[in-house]
Assembly symmetry: C2
Homo-oligomer: 486 residues x 2
């Protein structure tokens, strides 16, 4: 029977919206870098490098970042609560401090077993601990009932976009360049990404006139623009937004009735100035303008254990807080997250540790503080060193590192490179990044994976990898590349 000639599913008949989604962070370059890594592990000696540097993805503990001792000690007890029966051994022989045992007992009291499902929106006491943290951070009350634990921030974004996008006319304002989770999820949902360009000249800040123009253009095309995404500190840009920028976005959201999605997962990775949360700013605007309509601005802000000095992305822990949302809409969000049952419980516990770390005077504080600061300072130093290297490179421009884990330099390539790229069916930045990987083992992501202003080229690199050798190899490669295609 001819109808039985092959599998039922093929590339042309599966979900076209899945097919259209693009996710460059783990695309062809990443796959090739893993092949190089495997070849090196098997003893390959014909490669021009001796190690692969995965600067393509913000994966701190794959590189040099060590987990925070207090956190992992608590988690070890949560996984094996029988250890609590041997508290003296933990303290006298394994270096656990009494507050480690206390915290583990408290968390076990809340979750029962980390092997049990929690409530769909997360363990109630952990939600309360997050609310307490938000209150301390922002100076405004937070309600545990408005907090939803998630499997990393990505899962939270997925939930929110699922509820917000109603049909194929729905659109979401997304910064360009952006983390491709947003465009990929909108592709899958068959909703519109309404791109607005960030301003590279102002260190990748938001420009209200640009946002407005994108909004108006989309409206004119019949798109029902429903929300605006802000990533602050920025990914891939590393920008840290000013309070004025945040206020302007919130005021625009009020005027145009846009839900604000604030991706704030890099909130502790700030090197210049301080992190300003959308929640605090919104509450301030509400207080300053009692009848100004800000109490109708819906804000969803996201955070996770994946980045910052915690860097525990493999644990898939995160949360989002909803502000000014309709209770019936929140009930639908609760139902939606119920379908996947709950976020990983050990990841939820890690969120609790992140928002409620040891405090001054507590036995584990000194070590925690030392480890935390050492990671922070290490990241800043690496960012600065990488930035300096970029400044030396011909045709490369890069703003001062402000935050997150990334630099996103502009690269100006000779015309010959564009021609060679076209022959391979690649964009010039893809071509550049592929040759960089082949020559040095350093894997970065071309700017086209995040979106970039027409006529410009970039790449994104993390500054997580230790040492300076890999930075030197980029400088050397770049020089040779420019010579070759000049």
């Amino acid at each position: 029977m001819a109808s039985n000639a092959g599998p039922r599913l093929n590339i042309d008949n599966i979900n076209p919206h899945v097919r259209e989604a693009k996710y460059a962070v783990r695309g062809e370059l990443a796959v090739k870098s893993e092949e190089y890594r495997a070849a090196l592990a098997k003893g390959a000696s014909d490669l021009p490098f001796s190690q692969v540097i995965s600067a393509n993805i913000g994966n701190p503990q794959q590189l040099d970042q060590k987990p925070l001792t207090f956190f992992r000690q608590v988690l070890s007890i949560l996984e094996n609560p029988l250890l609590l029966e041997k508290g003296d051994v933990l303290i006298n022989h394994l270096g656990y401090q009494p507050d480690v045992l206390e915290r583990a007992k408290t968390l076990l009291g809340h979750v029962g077993s980390v092997g049990a499902y929690s409530a769909s929106n997360g363990v109630p006491a952990i939600r309360q601990s997050i609310a307490d943290f938000l209150e301390r951070r922002d100076g405004f009350p937070a309600n545990q009932a408005d907090i939803y634990l998630s499997a990393g921030a990505s899962s939270g974004v997925n939930t929110l976009l699922h509820v917000i996008c109603a049909n194929e006319k729905s659109g979401i304002l997304v910064p360009i360049p952006q983390y491709p989770l947003y465009t990929a999820s909108l592709s899958v949902l068959n909703a519109h990404c309404v791109p607005y360009l960030l301003d590279e000249q102002k260190n990748w800040g938001t420009d209200l006139a640009t946002i407005k123009a994108s909004y108006e253009k989309a409206k004119a095309e019949g798109i029902d623009v429903r929300a605006i995404v802000i990533i602050n500190p920025g990914n891939p840009t590393g920008a840290s937004l000013s309070e004025a920028d945040i206020r302007a976005v919130l005021d625009f959201a009020r005027q145009k009735r846009l839900v604000v999605l604030a991706d704030e997962v890099y909130q502790t990775n700030v090197f210049v100035g301080e992190f300003i949360s959308f929640k605090r700013t919104l509450r301030q605007l509400q207080a300053e303008n009692p009848n100004g309509g800000f109490d109708a601005v819906e804000l969803a802000s996201l955070h996770s254990v994946s980045k910052g000095m915690v860097g525990e992305c493999g644990h898939r822990g995160g949360y989002f807080e909803l502000v000014n949302f309709d209770p019936q809409v929140q009930a639908e969000i609760y139902k939606f997250v119920s379908i996947m049952l709950c976020a990983p419980v050990i990841g939820q516990c890690l969120v609790e540790l992140m928002v409620n770390p040891p405090r001054p005077g507590e036995p584990s504080y000194e070590l925690y503080d030392r480890e935390y600061n050492s990671i922070f300072n290490g990241l800043r130093e690496r960012a600065t060193a990488l930035h300096k290297a970029f400044e030396q490179m011909e045709g490369v421009e890069c703003g001062e590192p402000q935050g997150s884990m990334y630099l996103f330099p502009t690269i100006k390539l000779p015309a010959g490179a564009a021609e060679a790229a076209a022959k391979e069916g690649r964009t010039p930045d893809e071509f550049y990044c592929m040759r960089l990987l082949d020559a040095t083992g350093v894997c970065v992501v071309p700017g086209s994976g995040f979106g970039q202003k027409e006529g410009t080229l970039h790449f994104r690199t993390t500054f997580l990898a230790p040492g300076t050798e890999w930075v030197g190899s980029i400088v050397k490669f770049h020089k040779e590349f420019v010579e070759k295609y000049r």
Copy 2:
């Protein structure tokens, strides 16, 4: 401005497909049971019961099931690898066996840190360990490249349905009664659930004539039927399918070119006969009929750490294996799972422990084996006790327990109950379950949450809760309920 009068999102303008999704397992009854639990915790003394029994959800460790010691000892080291430096303390003072340390070392060698992202489809060595397990289980080779780690089986189902359903004409055959993950996910995707009834008279087995009729009816309505879901052992039914039933389904899938989704998360919860995998049966059919077209039958089979004697649902670990899938389709599945980065790494490690537990002769084997058998026997005893209780109850019929964690008895209620239910705007089974909760603190799920043949009523209860008191309270309630509405 009137347009700024309230939040942008309301129940009438959010995603209608999310709104339409139903997920009774965590619905109104579950919420009310949590309110009762909270009231009891605060010392409420005006309730007719002193504890809440969550028999609504297969959450083993929330009730009596203890985690397996070997598994949790390994996980405690994965969370705090510094413990390996004190191996003598672990062995001499904390009861860890040398094979616990060995396994932890091996897994850490594979993952680096459990705080780092893994490959999108899971840690390669863990995929290989799963492939080895499948080969031992089925007697046919398995390829690690066809295995995808997921955050519990639910997340795997979500992935597969996203890829398989192409548009609003796509339909999936789903057993009725079914676990509501399937109908809820299809609602969200705006695809068709094509229901086929299981045969209660044959202990909830599949009936091919019924499946065929459902398929033909859907085709006649213009639905593009693409796949068939089988849950074996059954949820909510507890059925364990015969090899003949499995062969018949696979042959039907071959004829009609349907992808087979085999939800096999209860594969170790089998009390009668033995578990027969779809993979083994498909490979046997391929071998028996070399040109019979079975090599074009696509099978996705799912498993997880959530159920069975492992019972670690809070860890959100699982995997699916693809058989006979087109490589380009697999590449799209890989991309789709990449958007959420990876499954929780500690959950992936737990999958590895599940598929590769201690073996006879190894130091941890004896304890593991004793714990495992004790859980298995306890579940069988509870199932039998509950089944006996149902046999005593007037108007209740329930087949012999065969597998999974559930019983799904038929209840025949007096006409007065239906009238009282209608007054509350409830179905009679919802009404019954609500009164049961109010009277006894026992939370079960009405049959309507899973689907049931018209004119029949059921409820699903787990048999996870220890003790017999709660079973007695159901018997007493039922008698009084029937008396009242007779």
